[in-house]
Structure formats: structure tokens, C-alpha cells
Amino acid sequence: MHEHDVIVVGGGGAGLRAAIAAHEEGADVAIVTKLHPVRSHTGAAEGGINAALRDGDDWTDHAYDTMKGSDYLGDAPAIETLCQDSPGETIQLEHWGMPFSREDDGRVSQRPFGGLSFPRTTYAGAETGHHLLHTMYEQVVKRGITVYDEYYVANLAVTDHPDPEDRECHGCIAYDIKSGDLTAFKATGGVILATGGDGQAFDHTTNAVANTGDGPAMAYRAGVPMEDPEFVQFHPTTLPSTGVLISEGVRGEGGILYNSEGERFMFERGYANNDGELASRDVVSRAELTEVNEGRGIEDEYVYLDMRHLGEERIVDRLENILHLAEDFEGVDGLEEPMPVKPGQHYHMGGIETNENGETCVSGLYAAGECACVSVHGSNRLGGNALPELIVFGARAGYHAAGRDMGEAQIQTGPSAAIEHETDLDTPVSPGALDRPDPDVAADGGAVTADPDAVVESALETERERVETLMERDGINHAEIRADLQDAMTQWVNVFREKEGLQKALEAIRECRERYQNVAVADPSRTFNTDLIHTIETRNLIDVAETITLGALARDEFRGAHWRAEHQERDDEHWLKHTMIAWNDGSPDLYYTDVILEGQDKAYEPKIRSY
């Protein structure tokens, strides 16, 4: 058994920042990650980091933009924390040597981004995430922080008290991927989940193959609710063949969108008369799909994004990476031709419910980064707001887990914060657990005991049994199930959603869950068994997909990224509240909590969102 004060699961932007913070605070911290840190998906981020750094800008403006962008589903204390801490955290990266793009006077450059009232997106070419990831990994190396790379965390060691708010997390269980050994990690201070996105629930996504929602699924099964899971961001500019992202930076620099009739539709068709291409992502994604659905798309599938008029010099200076992406993955020369683009799954606003200090309702269990939902993005994330989230809340979770006094959190977590319960949701199948109890769908968790070692041992045993079953029996390959799941999600839980489709998706997910009971690992080897790892990931995707779909079915209004055919209005009277989905032994419970609109000095009044 390995033992550390703080265990960080995941070595992306959030995980690295959390580890550095915990280390600064004097804790013995280790990072346990299924990919070597520099392979994390943070490296794919292109556009930039929002931070109010300059004269004429102020964190309060950033907070206002974020609140509005969230369509008033963000919590003010979280948003204000994000905007207040971001400048310091961003400059911290600069002090760590991050190669930001520079102005003539040598200061870091900033550019406009969708939904922002000031050009406050700080960037390093069109590969900001790569530099952010590498800069932080360098600092981890510098500090000698222990990294267990290529270790797959499969299970959390959490006590089994009936009320999740009484549970405690004492560590986690991981496979050493290279040897296949199952290893227990005990954490005396806390476990911080920083496992990133879950785009693999969909088949057209900007996300990496490794983004399988492991953290959310593990936390969910340990009793932490999934907050606002229905809010999935679809990015309007992804390459049709692969889902590779064309950064919003292109539109920020002045790139334009047009349809098959050569119309600049964002203006000419009245989707966003003021902001045009720079309207919020949900607005632009819907506009594009409407164009395609009404027959003004190209090859019935996509629209064009054109940056030729910006001129070679500017493109090469600020968007060079985009030229490579368009060329390598779509065979298009962005200097000569417009690029084909369509919406693709990009980011999950919802996730593990946490407060401003990264704490979940299970004590000792933290989450930060894309897997978490502190509720800074609400129903729609503004471009350039995820990277600051990683560094701001990654750092806060790290400090808190290492014992620093971060002050009382204003956001309350766990079932005791519930304001109402949903009882009569019209689902075609009862979601979740099946009649045939199977260790693979039953709740994870250790014994009710005060002894942390015993909890960790018990989690280790559970995992050992699970893997033996998977390896020994015959069965079907997970890849088929994963493909069907992705297909159902893309078909029915996409940019446009309707009741019937969501119900079909729930049925399809249930079917996947049933088939998963017969899943087996064909590769008999213990060495680098990716068949085994992907099989476990697929189970996580099923849980995550179910919460997304269930949340979407329940929310009968139109807010941010969540569009419903039958409900074309934002309904503040009934829906100014967070969705919470709790595991309850595999039968998801649905309840709601209040949105906090009161900030430090003022309350944010919901306004109609117009661009």
C-alpha cells in the first residue's frame, strides 16, 4: 500500500495545479494518472485563459460576463472566486516561464473571445493548453513531486455509511498499467479527483479517447451527486471528419461563418445581430445546425469558417496551429480555402458537485477541473473560462486538502442542501440498477468502519474480485457497447433535444447496461492490458451518459446549451435551480438545490441573454 497525505488523481491542468498547491503547503503529495501528465487532454486547449489583467478591465466585469454566459445557472460565489483569483494564477504561470504570446512592450497578449465584454483572453499562440500543461509539469518535476504515471484508478476507498454526508474517503485503488498489479493508495489528507472530461460518451467530440468520465462515475457511485449533468457544451467549430477543434480564437481574430449560399448567416439570418460569430457557443452551434437542417449546409453536414481575409501574417502569428490542424486532419489549406466546420461535443459543464474549496459532500474527497461542477459555467461555458477554472480551483482544492484554512465555503453540498425532490418523472424504463444484482453495477464502497486501512483493503478486495470476473469469464467486447452508447447519445442527446428522443436514449443506455453485465476481457495478459482498462471505462461512460440524459429529460425548459423542442423559453420561475442526481445503490435519485445569485457586493439579476 502506498501512503501519502494527498493523492491527486489525474495529471492534467487541474491535477498538476492541485499537486503544486498541496506541495507548497507542505504536504506529501502524489499524482496518480492513467496517462503520463504531458499526455493529458489539457494539452489540446487552443484559445486561451480569461483573466482581467489590464487597465479598463476588472474582475467584476469578468464575473458579470460569466454570470450572463451561464444563463444564470452559475453560483455567484464560485464565479466571483474564479474571476478574482484568475489574474494572480495566470501571472503565476507567467512567472513559471509559460511562453505566452507577447505585445510589443513585452507584456502578455490578450484577445477577444465569445461572450466577453473585454478582450481578456490571455494566450500562447493557438496552443495555450499545451504550454500551460508543460509549464506546470515542469514545476512538478522541479519540486520532485511523486508521479505514478500509467496507473489507472478504478475505485475509491470510501466508507459505506447510509448518508453520503457521513462518508469518508481514505484513498483509491489503481492498476499499474504496465505490470497489471493492483495497488492501494491511502491518503491521510484527501483524494482530489482531476480526471477531466467525458466526451467519449458521444461519438463526435473534440475530446481525447481517454476522456471517459472516470472521476465523475467513481464519485457518483461513492455517493456524491452529479450536478447539472444535462449541460453539455457543443462547440460550433469542429472538423467534420474527426471532431478536431478549430479554436474560437479564429472567430476572435475575425474569422467569419457562412452557409452554402455564401451568406454570413449569423447576421443575415438574425441569429446574433450584435455579436455575430462571437455570440456564445450554444447560440452559434444552434445557428449552424439550423442552417444545415434548412438545407443551407454544405454536403448536408457543415458550414464554412473563413479566415483567409485575416492575411497570412496574422494567421501565422496567432493561429498557426489551426493551419496545421486543418491541413493534417481535413486536408484543407486555411490560407487558400474556407474550413468546413460543424458542432461537436466539447465540454461538460456539469459534474461532481463541489464547493469553492473543491470539497464534495464525502469528506476527504475533492474534485477540480472539468470533472467537477463548482458551478462556474452554469448552463453554458464561455470560451477561455475552463483553463482559469483548472488553475483557480485546482489550487484551492490542493491547499484545502493539505490543510490550509480557506475560509468557510458559501456553497453547500450534499443531499441536505436539497430544496425539492422529483418524484414523477416520465421515464420509459426505470433507469439505473437492474434486478439481476451484479458487482459491476452495485455501489462502490468499503465497509462502515473507523479504520482507514480496513476501508482501503476492502476497496482493494472489491476491485480484485471485479477484475477476476472480467478476466475469467467469456463475454462480449466492451467496444460494441461503447459504440452503441455513443451513437445513442449523439442521435438523441445532442444540440437539439426532444422528449421522445431523450426517452429513447434512456432505453438505449439501459440496454447497454444490461449487455455490460456480459462484458468480458479477451486479452489474458496482465501487461499493459488496455482491453481491461477500456472495459472499465465503458462502464463509467454508461453511468455518466445516464445522468446526462436523465437530467435533460427532467429539465423541461430551454437554458444555455440545453435546448428542448417542446420548451422554447427559459423558465426562471420553475427552473432557476441545480439538478442533482444521486446514485442511491444504482437507482438514480433526482433532487434540486438553489442557484446562488447573491455575490459579494451585489445580486445578479437574471436578464434575457441577447448577443
Partner: protein, 303 residues
């Protein structure tokens, strides 16, 4: 060649499982029989679909993939397996590998993640050259426009863990030995930035793009012969910091001392193989030469 399990095998296994269940009681036996039937049907269906996809494809590409697993008796002896994969325009080598894994043999093992040339995990030896699988269009490997055979092997000069996965530890050790982190001397206070000129950023820009894929190291003859040679990626990393004007003079000197060691820059024989294979177009050889020049200017040791 093996493209999946044969049906006789599954039937034999079926008899075994059902036999075990029969011993455990009649109703369990019924259930096991049902499950076995479902599973077999599902597996047969999956294989039928794969066969159909290949038969109906206008074009297919034949992947010849290196296989090795020290733990599995049939794979102890390295061999090549071939997998016919339906070819479509835009398909990358990584796509083809994933198709083969998902449709024929789930034990086929390789690293991959981002699919967009930023994570550096799928550097492979494809038709005799180090490349990223995700950045290599199958069509570009074709002779006369018809993709036929693509030969995929693990990176040369590294220990093979299994199939296409190689041990990266040595590469990481070399990277870390050059102190790959910014070492500031006087960081300004608070929100004040360390100014950096556009020119200086431009100078280090290419060097900061390294994704640690290891292709350069694998292509380098010198590294192959001298295990202690820092190698192109690590020297490029050293360049990235040594040339950054924000690090002070003393540090630059310290950095030059690191790379001027016996197994440092002077080992490079300017063969350009690293520069040729780098998927991020980093002018590695040029960077190594630049550091040699710096060393001469500073009158440092010559090995």
C-alpha cells in the same frame, strides 16, 4: 493470419461453462445457457459485421502489425499479424489500428489519446519511419494512390513492453536530466509580468512545441549507440530555457554546462534524422548547432 476467434473454440468454451453451471444446480444452469447463447450470438454478429464491412468496402488496407507479449505463450515469439481494414478517405493510421482492435482482436495494444497530434502518445514506426499514427493519413502512405500494406512497428531503439507499446522511462530520464523547468532569479511582485520581447519569444517558439513523443530519439543513430547521450528532445528542451531571455546569465551558464557534458551536444553528428521525423517541425539539429556555438563563445569544454 488470425482475424478473431474461431467458432469451434467458442463452442468448446461454451460446453465448459455450461458444465460448471450444471454442477451448481439446474436453474443456474438454465440461466448460464441463456447467457452463453446471448453472448455467442453477440460475438458472432460482431464478427459477421466486421467481415461484411471488409467485403463491402471499395478499398481495404492491410495492416501488418508487430505483436509481442512476454506473458502470453503464443505471443512470446515476436510476429506480425495482418488485419484487413476498410479504407475511407481521411483515415489515419491510428483510426485503422483502432478499427482493427475493435473488430478483430481487443488485445492489440498501443498508446493513443488525443487523436490530434498534441499528446505525443502514438509515435510509431510506420513503413519504416517514425511518425505519429494520428497525424499520418493512410492515403499518404499509398503507392500510386492505392493504399495496400501499412507496416506498423513499435519505435526502434526502445524496449518493447507489449505489441506497439515501448518503455519510455529512459526518454523521460534524459528529459529530466537537463533541469527542464524555468529557474527565475528575480520574479517581479504580484501581478507584474516578466517582460519578454516578441523576438525572444519567436526565437524559442519552435522549441516549446515538443510533445515528448520520442520519435527523434528513436531515429537517432548516436542515441542508439550511446545510451547516455542526452538525445535531441532533451537538448531541445535545454535550448528552450537557455535561450529564454528571462532566465539570467548565471543560469544560462549553468545550463550550458549541463549540455556540454561528455554525452551532451558534442555527440551530435548532424545527421538530421531527428529533424526529419519530428512531427512538430522543430528544427532540432539547428537548435543543437546553436548550443554548440554558444558553448564555443563561452569557451566551454570540448569533448
Amino acid at each position: 493470419m488470425s482475424t478473431g476467434i474461431t467458432e469451434t473454440e467458442t463452442e468448446e468454451e461454451q460446453t465448459e461453462a455450461v458444465g460448471a453451471a450444471r454442477a451448481a444446480g439446474e436453474s443456474a444452469y438454465q440461466q448460464a445457457r441463456m447467457e452463453k447463447k446471448e453472448i455467442d450470438e453477440a460475438n458472432r454478429e460482431a464478427r459477421r459485421q466486421a467481415r461484411e464491412a471488409v467485403e463491402n468496402a471499395d478499398r481495404t488496407v492491410e495492416l501488418k502489425v508487430f505483436r509481442y507479449d512476454p506473458e502470453v505463450p503464443e505471443k512470446e515469439e515476436p510476429r506480425f499479424d495482418s488485419f484487413p481494414v476498410p479504407f475511407s478517405k481521411g483515415m489515419t493510421v491510428l483510426d485503422a489500428l483502432m478499427w482493427a482492435r475493435d473488430h478483430y482482436d481487443s488485445s492489440l495494444t498501443f498508446r493513443h489519446s488525443c487523436r490530434q497530434a498534441v499528446c505525443g502518445s502514438d509515435a510509431l514506426f510506420v513503413n519504416g519511419k517514425q511518425r505519429l499514427g494520428c497525424k499520418t493519413q493512410v492515403a499518404d502512405l499509398a503507392e500510386q494512390g492505392v493504399p495496400s500494406t501499412v507496416r506498423i512497428e513499435p519505435l526502434p531503439h526502445a524496449e518493447v513492453v507489449k505489441d506497439l507499446v515501448v518503455d519510455m522511462e529512459h526518454f523521460y530520464d534524459q528529459m529530466e536530466s537537463v533541469e527542464p523547468y524555468f529557474q527565475d532569479e528575480d520574479t517581479p511582485d504580484g501581478l507584474n509580468e516578466q517582460r519578454q520581447s516578441r523576438e525572444n519569444r519567436e526565437k524559442i517558439k519552435m522549441s516549446t512545441r515538443c510533445i515528448w513523443c520520442g520519435a527523434c530519439m528513436s531515429s537517432c543513430n548516436i542515441a542508439a549507440g550511446d545510451n547516455q547521450y542526452l538525445g535531441p528532445a532533451a537538448i531541445n528542451k535545454a535550448y528552450r530555457f537557455a535561450m529564454d531571455e528571462r532566465e539570467g546569465e548565471d543560469l544560462t551558464e549553468h545550463r550550458l554546462n549541463i549540455i556540454e557534458q561528455e554525452h551532451g551536444v558534442w555527440r551530435c553528428q548532424t545527421q538530421f534524422s531527428c529533424t526529419e521525423v519530428c512531427p512538430k517541425d522543430i528544427p532540432l539539429t539547428e537548435h543543437i548547432q546553436a548550443l554548440k556555438r554558444e558553448a564555443v563563445k563561452k569557451n566551454l569544454k570540448f569533448w
